[in-house]
């Protein structure tokens, strides 16, 4: 009996060890550090769904993989749109010979050719109130007749055949879009996952289960999806001829990012995306070579980097680091409707001068970032690396301002509730640090821990007084950050500090009318100054990505806005075989 048990144990151990000896093959193995809720473009407002969706579906435009600043280029569109002189009518020709992936939803299971009508259908889905699409804000109020159609559909007075004035397809491959106002952000919207194209037949076949049956025109199709565990993608055989970009910077050339220029995409047959939500297994999997890229856990940072450089032992193993600015900003916002904080600018300034952003950068980000001087992150239009606001860390100044605000040493000043967006240790420690910093000048705060739904509700109901928040670019235009202070966007919109200022609105509205130009850049800079002068929000940090990857993963250049990068990745099996033994 004992012998049998021992044999059984050996068999099990063999099974385990076999699994460890993963074959060195050319499958690209990536990770996502949160679960993917669904794979339906109209709801893809989170990074995790958006990443997978953007490699299965496509939009009219997308971003060039290498050009910086980020540059739009046609994807399913044949070229640049024809824009009418008033900037309101866009005529876009679609590429011919683009086919949906094969699926039983199509006759004989063969994917049919893409037509302009497919985009109209897809955007109707986005507008359809029954779909409760989280991405509706992108087209809300922008296309002539679309909001009216949405309202009529809700009232039962319209259906999917009812014409929409602003959306038409005069020919099978021509799409005409009429906007309610000129929008220089519109082309960015056409590159976002929420506007990507779906086929009506597929939506109708799968009904409520459509979020699990993504069928697009993109380079990959879904082979398998274990929710919370793994997504496997395989090359879409119907994918048209698309080639690796041949333009890039000298730095790109040096990093080998142009070594596949002109080659047909996608470069890899298979992509596996592992969902690993915890930092330890992700880091260990990376070190073992079981995922091709990773994240260094904050606690391991000193083991991996020395003087901000990757330590030699990791370099020798063939590990490299990709460093990129994230187009984001972390902030502390005041609710400007608060009777005290909203009206007493000197009080807000006292908060600002008692805030040590440099310390926060060091303690909470391992100096992976830069202290923010305004809402605009690096690489976006209007960002000036030499610009400094006047809100430097100066406790004496803060005390003086507090006195001028009518609260010397914080006397008679109420205790403010500081709303934390979650119960994570990181968040609580940040709250404690702020409490100490402000406490030094006599400003008292009380930390209020919320669940995310509670926090979100407080913001949208204007119930939060003082709160942490962060904003990441939805699209690479500074307008996406500056709209956070536009009066028409007050809560429940994205202007959660509820800042209302007619002069600022005028600047914002003027900038909206302008194409990218020095004049618009100047306006953006003025608006940044305006915000820093009024201090409805205190800006903390623009974060920097520092992503380790194995040198066998070729062309790795992940960017927080470019989601459709899987097509460019390739595993160099020779390097992998060589490095594998050292891991």
């Amino acid at each position: 009996m004992i012998q049998k048990l021992f044999l059984f144990f050996l068999l099990f151990m063999n099974l385990c060890c076999t699994s460890q000896k993963a074959k060195v093959d050319d499958t690209v193995v990536l990770f996502l550090d949160a679960n993917i809720p669904h794979l339906d473009p109209i709801h893809s407002t989170n990074k995790y769904s958006s990443t997978v969706i953007s490699n299965i579906f496509e939009g009219l435009y997308h971003y060039h993989y290498l050009k910086r600043p980020i540059t739009l280029e046609p994807s399913l569109a044949e070229g640049e749109p024809q824009i009418s002189p008033d900037g309101k009518t866009y005529t876009i020709q679609l590429k011919k010979g683009v086919f949906f992936q094969d699926d039983p939803a199509f006759p004989n299971g063969k994917g049919r050719e893409l037509k302009a009508e497919d985009f109209i259908y897809s955007w109707r889905r986005l507008a359809d109130p029954m779909n409760k699409a989280m991405g509706w804000w992108v087209l809300d109020g922008l296309i002539v007749g679309l909001n009216e159609w949405r309202n009529d559909l809700r009232a039962g007075k319209a259906n999917y055949q009812t014409p929409i004035k602003g959306l038409s397809a005069p020919h099978s491959h021509t799409l005409v879009i009429q906007l309610t106002r000129p929008s220089f952000q519109f082309l960015h919207f056409l590159a976002m996952p929420v506007t990507m194209v779906v086929a009506q037949e597929v939506v109708e076949k799968y009904g409520q289960e459509i979020a699990n049956h993504p069928i697009g025109t993109g380079p990959y199709r879904l082979e398998h999806w274990d929710r919370n565990s793994e997504v496997r993608l395989i090359k879409n055989k119907n994918f048209r001829e698309v080639f690796y970009p041949s333009e890039g910077s000298a730095e790109d050339e040096k990093r080998g990012l142009l070594s596949h220029k002109g080659q047909r995409l996608p470069l890899s047959e298979k992509i596996t995306v592992k969902v690993i939500t915890e930092r330890q297994p992700l880091w260990l999997s990376f070190l073992k070579g079981q995922v091709d890229h990773g994240v260094v856990p904050t606690d391991n940072f000193d083991q991996v980097f020395e003087n901000n450089q990757l330590k030699k032992e990791f370099v020798d193993k063939g590990i490299r680091v990709l460093e990129q600015y994230r187009p984001d900003v972390t902030m502390i916002a005041f609710n400007m409707e608060h009777p005290l904080l909203g009206k007493n600018k000197k009080l807000r300034l006292a908060f600002a001068h008692a805030l040590n952003s440099d310390l926060i950068l060091e303690k909470f980000y391992n100096r992976r970032g830069i202290v923010a001087q305004g809402p605009l992150p690096p690489l976006l239009d209007g960002y000036d690396p030499d610009y400094k606001n006047n809100l430097d860390f100066n406790l004496e100044k803060a005390r003086q301002l507090l006195k001028e605000a009518g609260y010397p040493d914080g006397k008679d000043l109420p205790v403010f509730d500081f709303e934390l967006s979650n119960n994570a240790t990181w968040s609580r420690q940040m709250g404690e640090l702020l409490k100490d910093l402000w406490g030094q000048v006599g400003i008292q705060i009380r930390l209020v821990i919320n669940t995310w739904p509670q926090f979100d509700q407080k913001l949208k109901n204007k119930q939060a007084t003082l709160f942490e928040m962060a904003w990441s670019a939805d699209y690479p235009d500074s307008e996406n950050f500056l709209q956070l202070f536009y009066s028409k966007n007050v809560s429940p919109g994205s202007n959660n500090s509820n800042f209302i200022n007619r002069d600022y609105d005028q600047l914002y509205e003027k900038a909206l009318q302008l194409p990218p130009s020095p004049e618009r850049t100047l306006l953006y800079k003025k608006m940044v100054d305006f915000i820093n002068n009024e201090v409805p929000t205190l800006f903390l940090v623009h974060r920097i990505y520092r992503l380790p990857y194995h040198s066998w993963l070729e062309n790795y250049n992940e960017h927080p806005i470019i989601y459709d990068f899987y097509r460019y990745l390739k595993v160099n099996t020779q390097i992998k075989e060589k490095n594998w033994s050292q891991l």
């Binding site: 099990f12 460890q20 809720p37 409760k132 929710r227 919370n228 690993i276 079981q290 429940p492």
Partner: protein, 311 residues
Amino acid sequence: MKRYFLRRFLYTFPTLFGVSLVLFFIFNGIGGDPAYQLAGKNASLEQIENLRQQLGTHQSLLHQYKDFLWQTVTLDWGQSWYFKENINSMLLKGLGPSLALTVPSFFFTLLLALSVALSFSYFRSEKSHSLLTWFCLSLMSVSFLTFIIVFQYLFAFKWGLFPINGWSQDFPFVLSFLLLPWFISIIVSVGPDILIYRTLFQEEINKDYVKTAQAKGLLTTQILYKHILKNSMLPILSLLLSRIPQLLLGSLLLESFFGIPGLGGIMIQALQNADFPMVKAITMMSSLVYILLNLLADLLFLLFDPRVELK
């Protein structure tokens, strides 16, 4: 007896009603307005109001509660607000991995804890008892998370005996992903179980019938398994049955560290994203299972102890 079970079965309804009431008011009290969550970041007041109408959250609490009860009766929870997928189908998909993770470790733990406790109770010596107590308390004083982190590092990363993380639909390949989580789960649960079972067995061993059996010359194994184990089964059964609903929900920590696509992860995401239909479905189903298992426990009491009378 039939009347007893019928009555107990009928008790299920007020209990479920109570659970539903508590759940409903907790969720509506602290869960946040789901319309805000689902409307996205740039929603207008009008959109939020429209969304409330579609979700039915604009209606009175009484009306919403009635709808909730009807869903419970029909077991039709509809579509998840967050995952955009049919809830019953998601639960079915998540149940397999959850059970694969929890059920084998549950039985291994049971077997191990019973054997160790029985052996140590019968062949008692002060030294061995102290050693066992020390061993069990040591296991109990280390947190679950520490076991996961240390074992994953040592067994999977350092020594390469198991995969670090992952899942497979293929049997027996999937076992390679489950062995380490099972092992950790057993190590964590076995300590307290041994101590509880040992106390129960010791009570039995000191009874006269054991001495009589020994005097009659019965084999040790007969005394242990036929008499002591059987007579100690009632409290053990109640303990085990009370744990079964937890098996359905899996283990959030093990699932997230080892990439197991079970119900624990789904439940947490549903809570974080105000996905009330999913939270309702999982909570009500677990409550139902819990109540039915209690009923089963009563039935098993009858089988194990003829002295028990059901009134």
